[in-house]
Symmetry: C2
Subunit: 296 residues, 2 copies
């Protein structure tokens, strides 16, 4: 099966499960439900849940076992996008060609839709364990990976430094800190949480963590590059947004050519970490390659 | 032991454990650590963690068993206060006599400090289970109570309706929805999560949930009343803030006298739910009474 078909099937599976997990509700808090769903179904690539399911497959498990973590990951990722776009953060009016949450629902509801998706995503994974659908130990191990990636050891720390460094001269260590914390940590947790839900052994999970950290950083470096070289039509947003905000980026520090080299090296390192896995890790290998060729 | 001494000892125990759980960190994201700690150590009454430990005691367990949930509850409660105070929400400049987070650290860092406390609080409880300090099933059951109370079935739904109803005529059902979701759900989850971590039986946890919902609503009604009748010196904030914002409150709907009656009835109902418990539930009984006599 080629990667495009694989991704399409997985995305459809995830979309259907998200629809069932977060149906539209009416009543008093109907606006909250609409705001949460607006961003959750705004055309995301479902990269983190796909990686989570692929992580489960890589250790010989099934995608179904890892589904609760996959859905949680997409919800908490969406929370981070909504908050990142707020006027007090990056002040973005558009994402994926659509008006951002606060442009549609106002700032208060955008903050709360983000808060709600964070709580709801974790609640969904907790529920799968509390109801006994999956072993409690596995759920806790997956939750540990995900909550650590969201905490001040991960995503929020990356976002704080990202904002602080706007318009300032930065070195490679700083931009690496931002990218590994803000993006890399949750991408790595996507792969490892999937593997843990599927009963992966500790040494397998460690190897997948190495893969995820390398591939996750490569993903974000290519993101920086696409902001300069990408096709605005395909991306659904203008070029040059990072530069306009004075963001710390790899091309800003290393230039385009060395940024490409770094991304390629990281993908090679990520794939090398999978040396002990058989063909069941091919989807992860292919996704890492795709990080270098993606257009959006 | 009288309640004042009991509360003081518990608060000290919780403060020490919070200090150990969230020490000041330096380095790149030092500002995030300072912002999180600023609000976490801003003189809170530690009501939710106290209730959590008392919930554990009520089922014959020890306070120590429930401590990870108690700390998580105070962190996620603090997250909700920081976000509630934001300019796009209640736009509060002071809380407990101190400038609010966004006044000190700016809006972006305030949003992120809230996000960080939410993630960090849940991560801390997850960790206690992942490291095997407490049985995985108990941790998951406690997490289930807490994440549901934070989700769009709980706190965020209450906050959305609270904001939507500002300046509008409301009925008792609406203000009850706001209070039970925004405040009551997490107070009830505080008691039940403590009981679950201490191995409480299902019928005990159900009774404690009834207690928590009644007492939690009474707590918030008295909060509404104190906004009108309280001593500004003792409360550390001006009177009349709710009215100035056009908030939906019990006195606004029922008047002061019937609001007091409702609060007293709810406390009596809460205490009645504890009929099956012996003296080990006395702290919960005393705390419910204290809700009616507190000055801040």
């Amino acid at each position: 099966m080629d990667l495009a078909t694989y991704l399409e099937r997985r995305q459809r599976m995830i979309d259907q499960a998200l629809e069932a997990a977060l149906p539209e509700t009416r009543g008093m808090a109907g606006d909250l439900s609409r705001a949460m769903r607006y961003s959750l179904f705004a055309g995301g690539k479902r990269l983190r849940p796909v990686l989570c399911l692929a992580g489960a497959e890589a250790v010989g498990g099934s995608a179904e076992e890892a589904l609760p973590a996959a859905l949680a990951l997409e919800m908490v990722h969406t929370y981070s996008l909504i908050h990142d776009d707020l006027p007090c953060m990056d002040d973005d009016d558009f994402r994926r060609g659509m008006p951002t949450s606060h442009k549609v629902f106002g700032e208060a509801l955008a903050v709360l839709a983000g808060d709600g998706l964070l709580a709801e995503g974790l609640a969904l994974l907790v529920k799968a364990g509390a109801e006994g659908r999956l072993p409690a130990e596995r759920i806790l191990a997956a939750l540990y990976e995900i909550t650590r990636a969201l905490s001040s050891e991960g995503m929020v720390a990356g976002q704080v430094v990202d904002l602080q460094m706007e318009g300032r001269e930065v070195d490679e260590a700083t931009v690496r800190f931002i990218h590994t914390h803000k993006t890399g940590a949750l991408i790595a947790a996507s792969v490892t949480s999937g593997a843990l839900l599927a009963g992966g052994r500790p040494e397998q999970v460690r190897a997948l963590g190495c893969f995820g950290r390398s591939a996750g950083l490569a993903f974000q470096i290519v993101d920086d590059i696409l902001d300069i070289e990408g096709d605005p039509e395909v991306m659904g947003k203008e070029r040059g947004a990072d530069q306009a905000l004075g963001k710390a980026t790899y091309p800003g520090v290393l230039g385009l050519e060395r940024s490409w080299e770094t991304a390629r090296r990281l993908v090679a390192e990520g794939r090398a970490a999978l040396a002990g896995f058989g063909p069941e890790a091919d989807p992860l290998r292919d996704i890492a390659n795709y990080f270098l060729t993606r257009q959006k």
